[in-house]
Symmetry: D2
Subunit: 339 residues, 4 copies
């Protein structure tokens, strides 16, 4: 930690701070600069107490306290220099092939789900997405089919051979959801619901962690740390847009996270352009950008009849649009050296 003193501090006050730093288990190291005196406090910041409260304790003496260590460990590139991959039902995410996860926002009926599953498989997707439990802003909106939805996903998996991803909303459902799905999705609203992250990790299933609406990248990586530190190495990060002042799109898809997560972490990075923009007419361009920038996988909402969708109709592609997307993506996959 770096402690910056206020200008013109008295030696007596300085000594009091140094004594406290030592008491808290750090070795202080003084640097007298031109305009400020600065103290480097030597000690492992991950195991010692934070010194940030020194500001409160010595408000007349200290101007700021700056941490120097990164706070995430297991998810970091330093901990695992090579890319890690997640494999489920023979599908490898994080390898050379860019895996496509596609399906409806919500599972609504057998007919809707199976039609979608067969179509996305035919177009080249490897994983079927579909929400059985839906987090809705209002209690008066469709909340998902629950376990019946999970059973339909399992049936679609059996019929098509696609792997399945679905969202976990409640700790109480962790066991039930794990029974039917291949990948557990943690949604943006629950990205810092640490109890849910732990429950998901403990099922042993791969976890896809969406970025929270106003989550800094460091916080996202730290939330991922809750999965890895609970003995589950199969973690993927999923960028799905952040909340900004812009109103044209539902969210602002932050594609810079693709190279950043690749740089800071070994875990695969997935992009969700459907949630990321909230507009089906932007999904194609978003997918091309994501692939060009190095995304390992795309998570795309597809519905046989978007205007009939029980949730988020405006952002779902039709089966035809999805097939066209898969074709148009090819040259960009090739340009990126991917399949």
């Amino acid at each position: 930690m770096i402690i910056v003193f206020k200008p013109r501090i008295r030696r007596k006050d300085e000594a009091a701070v140094l004594k406290e730093i030592k008491r808290l288990g750090y070795q202080p190291h003084i640097m007298r600069g031109v305009a400020r005196t600065v103290v480097g406090a030597i000690g492992d910041e991950l195991t010692h107490k934070s010194l940030e409260s020194l500001i409160t304790q010595f408000p007349e003496s200290i101007e700021s306290v700056i941490p120097v260590q990164k706070r995430f460990k297991l998810v970091s590139r330093e901990a695992h220099p090579a890319n890690s991959t997640v494999t489920t039902r023979g599908v490898v995410i994080g390898g050379r092939k860019v895996q496509i996860m596609a399906g409806p926002c919500s599972v609504e009926s057998e007919k809707q789900l199976l039609a979608t599953a067969h179509a996305v498989k035919a177009a080249g997707a490897a994983i079927l997405r579909g929400g059985a439990f839906k987090p809705r802003t209002s209690p008066y909106e469709f909340q998902g089919l629950g376990e019946r939805g999970l059973k339909l996903l399992a049936k679609a998996r059996q019929e098509t051979g696609l792997a399945v991803i679905t969202e976990l909303l409640s700790e109480d459902h962790a066991g039930m959801v794990a029974e039917y799905t291949d990948i557990i999705q943690i949604g943006a609203r629950n990205a810092q619901n640490f109890q849910l992250l732990i429950a998901a990790a403990r099922t042993g299933k791969p976890v896809l962690l969406k970025r929270g609406l106003s989550m800094r990248i460091e916080e996202w990586l730290l939330a991922g740390e809750y999965v890895l530190s609970n003995d589950n190495p199969n973690l993927m990060f999923c960028e799905r847009g952040i909340r900004t002042f812009e109103t044209y799109t539902r969210n602002t898809l932050d594609l810079s996270t693709v190279p950043i997560v690749k740089k800071e972490s070994h875990c695969p990075i997935v992009v969700d352009p459907s949630q990321g923009s909230g507009r089906a007419d932007l999904v194609m361009a978003m997918c091309k950008g994501a692939v060009a920038m190095g995304a390992d996988s795309l998570l795309i909402e597809v519905h046989p009849n978007p205007s009939e969708a029980l949730s988020d109709g405006a952002q779902q592609l039709s089966l035809q649009e999805f097939a066209r997307l898969m074709t148009e993506l090819q040259p960009f996959l090739a340009a990126a050296g991917r399949e």
Copy 2:
């Protein structure tokens, strides 16, 4: 709902949209304007399907779809024109007296908690706060004492007569937490963890719902709707700052929510200046502003020795600072016609 057509749309395309609107259960009502044709779709938006997906279905014809009904019901002033109050252990929140909730960020030890409880009571607080389960950005930080912390809160309540508020983090703990506390707090990170909101509501205890880091006011009111629609009328909203680009403070306390929540809802509004700024040196001014603007209650972090705190030391007041705050607030309470 209002459907805005693109300019120069053909009558044939218009007819197709109108037919679809009817099929979805609304009565269309056409207005031909100078530059745009607009359709009012008559029907109850809370019970019918959303028309927003019409944009996807008719991308060449429709420019935008605008809802006109407010989405929240039970929390709204319309539903309950008078102020509602929440009463627990004889403490009335939302009445003439501005109730002060004070205590440490985390319950750390019996000594720390009892010292704080006695001091805040002596200074005029009616409710003791203290976290037993702490949501921490990193899994390597102090996570709270758990049930032992709850027991200490109960003991402090018994010794001082203060009511107690503490945070609920996990659905699985709802019963246990409800056993020891008088008010259940839902934290900012869980403000859209709807399963947790439902679990909290069902304990029957009053619920204090903090605003999420990037939650719009409408979404906050809708989250409150999850409490009221689960048969729990004792809901308080708590402004605790939103996330912005500003880095001087930890959060940007949005005091405009005080008059806005009072206007849109009948529920009491609480302000948390400690989380709201992240800096103890701003808490005094924040409290004065909150009281002047009409807050019903303040939630303040107080610690016998902030520099020793196991969490968020930089934003906790010392016992002396808290006593001074309570004194300095008096003229502002009087100016606001409160006690």
Copy 3:
């Protein structure tokens, strides 16, 4: 405009509002819905007075007023369905070829500028960028070489045949800057400095308008309207990142603006990945994404020795890095059907 009444409004109050709407030049059109009564006010919103102040005038009766017309005209696709192009010194921006604008953040010396100009030309750039007047957050930072910088740009142009783009900071310099440059850049901090936009437009030179730090897309298009409505058809929009809560990058590059500006406007869209991220190590990925999503041009900061740069060293590429970027971009240009 759409006027939404509050529930249970009396007919007398309704009549007063309708009378006022007529007085302001609109034709009211009533729709009685299930939960709300709504009025469509027919009239051209671009020529009539706004009705938004009706809320102030009738606070007990009106809940909201919603405009339905788009506010921009000349920049819109509706006004000019085909793509427009900007041509300067034989360089066409907005056509099949993706034009690269490259050069130092600031013009610092003849040697620095000429070395960069020759190198970026050799690597394939068509336009040389370089700041002669620099907007600096602090008055104590390097403010640019001023007219001497402009003369160096002109010299570099003469030597290399590259077209030149530089930023205009002051209305008073419009004539002088126009004398030396081929494209006038309006920076993010001045994106709503409308007097400067008008002064730039009136020079007759093409104008590149950067997006402001917290500018909504609609406001950006409207700022462009200041250029076109001052008889200058040669306008380009330039995405350079917006300000968000994220601190890992200097700005959040919003690549969704590429397809959105293409959809809403006929003007070319340029992407600046250097300002957009503030980190040289992200520029490569950002450029690939921008090209894949349809950008017409890239604006890239290049310096012979970034660590010696007098401004923004952290985001400038070296000459070698730039040459490598140009090579690596080729497959993505091909995939996008561009050159």
Copy 4:
């Protein structure tokens, strides 16, 4: 500056960085910590080159570079420990009396302005506000009366004895505006239009600097530095709300800036609740909060007939509402120890 090395860096690479730090004029000071090696670079950061570009130069070696000095000087409390005051026409801003600046958003006519001026004077205001040059998002909106508006302001001043504040939009108008006004306002959109700030400073008139829509507090203080360093000591900061994701209000008024600016700077702080919320029905509560938190002055939009206003009708108070506001503010002024 603090330079943080990556873990496990080789001594050879370390030496190269140290050599470069020395070459750039700083004295390096090494601290070897548990997980990281950190270098303090001793030297005045305001006069030396920034070391931030070291990251670009040594990407394999350096993780981050952290400045430790505050960048603002003349506006800082350190430079001038006592409060400074601004006096114009006998009105002292920053003293015991909270000065009220009130008047219409735009000067529209002699009748409108004089009616407002007399009314706000009668209610207790000391300064008349009114825009003669208006920055409008769209070129098709009312742009102000220009010099005719300035003449009306001068006339109102003569009739009422009120001091006058109006906005400067163009460097070219600095002389003209200074001729008619007592205080020059720099609007939010021009808060980092440094040329305009310099032109305003050089008129010698007091300058009121509004906070930009997404300006960090440090940047705002630095923009003020442009005024003080151009030999004009009469600077006021004006909080007017920032842009956030919230859509209920037009801006989010950040009242925490009141105590923060008071703490960091000696200059007076003014609050504009009209722009700050965009809603007349919130102005009263905002004013009470601002006074309670220590604001030196309030800037309030008042119009004889808000629904007829040519700009921003929704946020202007009527004359009656303003008079009531002035009365209701009294107890809060008393509570704050102000007049």
